[in-house]
């Protein structure tokens, strides 16, 4: 998709205004009074402004930008992007069009460079808006244009996991075998170890005990699958909703690290790709990339195969009715009131 850009706008500073006024008055007075040096002084001051404007505009005229972002981002944290500038003859300044102003990066030459964009809110990012500015040699005028760069693949901004102290319920198997080829019925032998207090007596391996002359027990890997369904009810969009989804991300990550099968159930707020808007003029109020959470119409039920998958699903989780098929394993409901086990 092609990026869209505004025409080049100009912005003057207070010094420029004063210099133009001084040059105009000096030139006029010099012309009317027939004073050649004063005329030269005034006209040269105006000429300096004109040269500076021309240089600033010419700098921006041929610059083209490309932006490549990360596959996903975390809400509240800056993300690194690769920016490629072409046609840079004099230094240009690139800054994301957000409020408050984010860092301004000085691109002195063409080529690829890494810049950090300010934190996004949770959701899907379809485009990034950058302000490209340049000044003349004297810095009297600032030329700028705003470029809207659509992303070929929307960037999912997921929640940041929230550290959580939680009492996990006793796991119970809901099925056997993670895959079709997994053994069914018996546990898998993993190894032997010395007996420890509390080990089940039926785990004692008598043969090994006789050989080692101490009590030895069998270690077995269970093939029973513990399933966890995480129902996410973030509530109204806002900081609390981001916090709730962050808690859900933590629960999901912990469950995955335990080897459990996790099913994430969310009300999906991912809308279709919005129509690419026209960029507003530069030097105007810049707004953060709006991330709207429309009312959810569908329930998204997915078995989570990894953290990135959970990250993407939680990026668009919003409040709405959750409709999901029956589930035989553990179920927890993450809400603004906390993690509720069912």
């Amino acid at each position: 998709m092609e990026s869209t850009t505004t025409r080049i706008h100009l912005k003057r500073s207070t010094v420029t205004t004063l210099l133009v006024g001084f040059g105009t008055l000096s030139g006029l007075i010099g012309l009317l009074a027939g004073r050649y040096p004063l005329t030269v002084l005034g006209l040269a001051a105006l000429g300096a402004v004109a040269v500076d404007v021309a240089a600033a505009v010419a700098t921006l005229a041929g610059v083209r930008l490309e932006l490549h972002g990360p596959p996903d981002a975390v809400a509240g944290l800056p993300s690194e992007w690769v920016i490629t500038a072409r046609g840079v003859r004099r230094p240009v300044v690139v800054s994301p069009a957000v409020v408050p102003r984010s860092p301004r990066y000085l691109l002195e030459a063409g080529g690829a460079a890494v810049i950090a964009l300010p934190p996004f809110s949770r959701g899907l990012i379809h485009h990034v808006v950058l302000d490209l500015t340049a000044t003349g040699p004297l810095g009297l005028y600032q030329a700028g244009r705003r470029i809207l760069i659509p992303l070929s693949v929307p960037l999912a901004v997921g929640p940041s996991p929230v550290p959580l102290e939680m009492a996990w319920p006793r796991p119970r198997a809901m099925a056997f075998g993670l895959t079709d080829g997994a053994p069914v019925g018996d546990d898998l032998f993993r190894g032997l170890r010395p007996y420890q207090r509390g080990d089940e007596r039926r785990r004692i391996h008598w043969g090994a005990t006789a050989r080692h002359r101490q009590l030895m027990v069998r270690e077995l890997d269970g093939t029973g699958v513990v399933g966890l369904r995480v129902l996410v009810e973030p509530g109204e969009p806002g900081p609390m909703a981001d916090h709730v989804t962050g808690v859900a991300a933590t629960v999901t990550a912990d469950a995955l690290s335990r080897g459990w099968a996790v099913q994430l159930v969310t009300a999906d707020g991912a809308a279709d790709r919005p129509q690419t808007p026209s960029p507003t003029p530069p030097f105007k109020s810049a707004w953060p990339t709006p991330i709207w959470h429309p009312a959810a119409a569908t329930t998204r039920v997915a078995m989570i195969g990894g953290l990135r998958m959970a990250h993407h699903q939680l990026a668009t989780a919003t409040q709405g009715p959750l409709v999901a098929p029956p589930w035989g394993g553990l179920t927890c409901r993450v809400t603004p009131r906390g993690v509720l086990w069912e």
């Binding site: 000096s26 012309l31 009074a33 609390m240």
Partner: protein, 488 residues
């Protein structure tokens, strides 16, 4: 569950650092100011005062550049504080001296002026403040440019130094930006290390000034006010057979008092105001209507002068030719004269066009400034909140619950939530708007967006009663309604 942590939008690293001037820039800017003072001293032949001013400013600049005293000028520039200090200190001195009944100290004015310059110099670190120095010192440089002597060379030298200082400050400004981590293998240029920009700008700027000024002072483009001293100007000039009314004023010479001092002949040479003609002495005088005449010094007879065929002809009251000052003569003279007249017309046209263009440029600049002048930005939290409150006031008025003068926005929203729209989000909207209007903490951008969304959805969900009525009236009846209305 723990409370959510609010991620600050404007983290410390996101703030744009204010650019600090490098020592080279500070020296260059000081050179601009010092040269202006020295030139003023040369103009007024008061070198001690110029040296004192440079010294005062230099002491202030050294202190300001080597210490962190500039933090006191974060909100007000040192230039303004220095200018304000002069009348304040003068007034205080006058009051104190009148109380103790003491005479004013010698060189008291210079001391006060030096104090102002010293205060100005203390703010000598920020780029934005130092940018003002070349412009501020340009005003006294105008006086230098008006003076005679090597004014042009000094003016151009000062202007070149001012441009160099602006260029150096711009490089300092660029240094304050963040530099991305380059993925290119080749080393990146230092910002602004290439002086080509400066050289090209200086050359272009000075060339523009010199060329345009040279063009402007050409006789055909000269706007000089000297011609305005002419006591007589014909209302119109005509070229053709009737040469009687041709403009003779352009051939006349005037002294400083505006009196006719001589007659410049078209082919060259001059006629003195008193000259001998056919044994009588005549002199050039201005007639009753301002037209030049020849007056006989002995008899007082006056002859009218007119330009005919390239010659200046003196005729008496009967129209007889009494004298002829040969010009270039013949058709060639007429052609030359016509060319002069055309040139004069061209001059008039150029003047009018140039003045009109300048006036249009000035008007355009004024209009541009008027349209682009600083207005409360939509990003300003207070103006944003006021705008939202106005929207809600219209909404309340549409529902016959206009906001009373003594009712706060929070009370208005509570009333709306209890009557018109029982939406719990209105409570949060009231909190955000109240904080934005009266609180110290600004609402985050996310809060703004959510507030606007909540307001928009509430307004859309609760249209005004008359709209509902209109919609009901215009919408077609359902089948059931149509059946009920059908007469049985």
């Amino acid at each position: 569950m723990s409370d959510p942590s609010v991620t600050p939008w404007n983290q410390g690293r996101l703030r744009i650092p204010e650019a600090q001037a490098s020592p080279a820039s500070q020296v260059a800017v000081f050179g601009v100011a010092a040269s202006a003072f020295v030139l003023l001293g040369w103009l007024s032949q008061n070198y001690p005062a110029a040296v004192a001013a440079v010294t005062a400013l230099g002491i202030g600049a050294v202190v300001g550049a080597t210490t962190s005293v500039d933090r006191f000028f974060r909100n007000a520039p040192g230039l303004l504080m220095g200018v304000l200090a002069i009348p304040v200190v003068s007034l205080a001195g006058v009051i104190v001296l009148s109380l103790v009944d003491a005479p004013p100290p010698p060189a008291g004015d210079q001391l006060v002026l030096g104090l102002g310059l010293l205060i100005w110099g203390l703010d000598w670190r920020r780029v934005t403040r130092l940018r003002l120095v070349p412009v501020a010192t340009g005003v006294p440089m105008s006086a230098v440019a008006v003076a005679s002597g090597p004014a042009l060379a000094m003016t151009l030298a000062w202007l070149a130094l001012a441009l160099v200082s602006l260029w150096s400050l711009e490089i300092d400004q660029r240094r304050s930006y963040e530099h991305p981590r380059s993925l290119a293998s080749s080393g990146a240029k230092r910002p602004g290390s290439d002086a080509t920009d400066l050289v090209a700008s200086l050359a272009l700027t000075l060339a523009l000034g010199l060329v345009i000024a040279s063009f402007a002072v050409l006789p055909s483009c000269n706007l000089s006010l000297g011609d305005l001293r002419l006591p007589w100007r014909p209302s119109s000039t005509r070229v053709g057979s009737d040469h009687a009314n041709l403009d003779l004023g352009r051939w006349l010479m005037f002294d400083l008092d505006g009196q006719i001092s001589g007659l410049r002949l078209p082919q060259g040479g001059e006629v003195l105001p008193n000259f001998e003609l056919d044994g009588d002495w005549w002199r050039l005088v201005a007639g009753a209507d301002g037209r030049p005449q020849l007056e006989n010094l002995r008899t007082g007879e006056r002859l009218d002068l007119s330009l005919e065929g390239g010659d200046i002809v003196a005729r008496d009251s009967d129209g007889r030719e009494r004298a002829r000052f040969p010009g270039v003569g013949g058709s060639e003279g007429s052609a030359s004269n016509n060319q002069d007249l055309k040139d004069h017309q061209t001059t008039q046209w150029w003047k009018t066009a140039l003045v009109a263009a300048l006036a249009m440029v000035l008007l355009g600049l004024a209009a541009w400034w008027w349209t682009r002048r600083r207005r409360p930005s939509a990003a300003d939290p207070r103006s944003w909140a006021e705008q939202q409150v106005r929207v809600l006031e219209r909404f309340a008025a549409d529902h016959d619950r206009p906001r009373a003068v003594d009712r706060s926005p929070r009370a208005m929203l509570a009333d709306l939530a209890s009557t018109v729209s029982p939406d719990p989000r209105l409570v949060r909207v009231a909190d955000v708007l109240t904080d934005a209007l009266f609180g110290r903490a600004e609402p985050t951008m996310e809060e703004r967006l959510r507030t606007e969304q909540a307001i928009a959805e509430v307004i859309e969900a609760h249209p005004p009663p008359e709209q509902r009525g209109r919609r009901r009236r215009t919408s077609p009846p359902t089948l059931t309604e149509a059946a009920d209305r059908r007469p049985s």
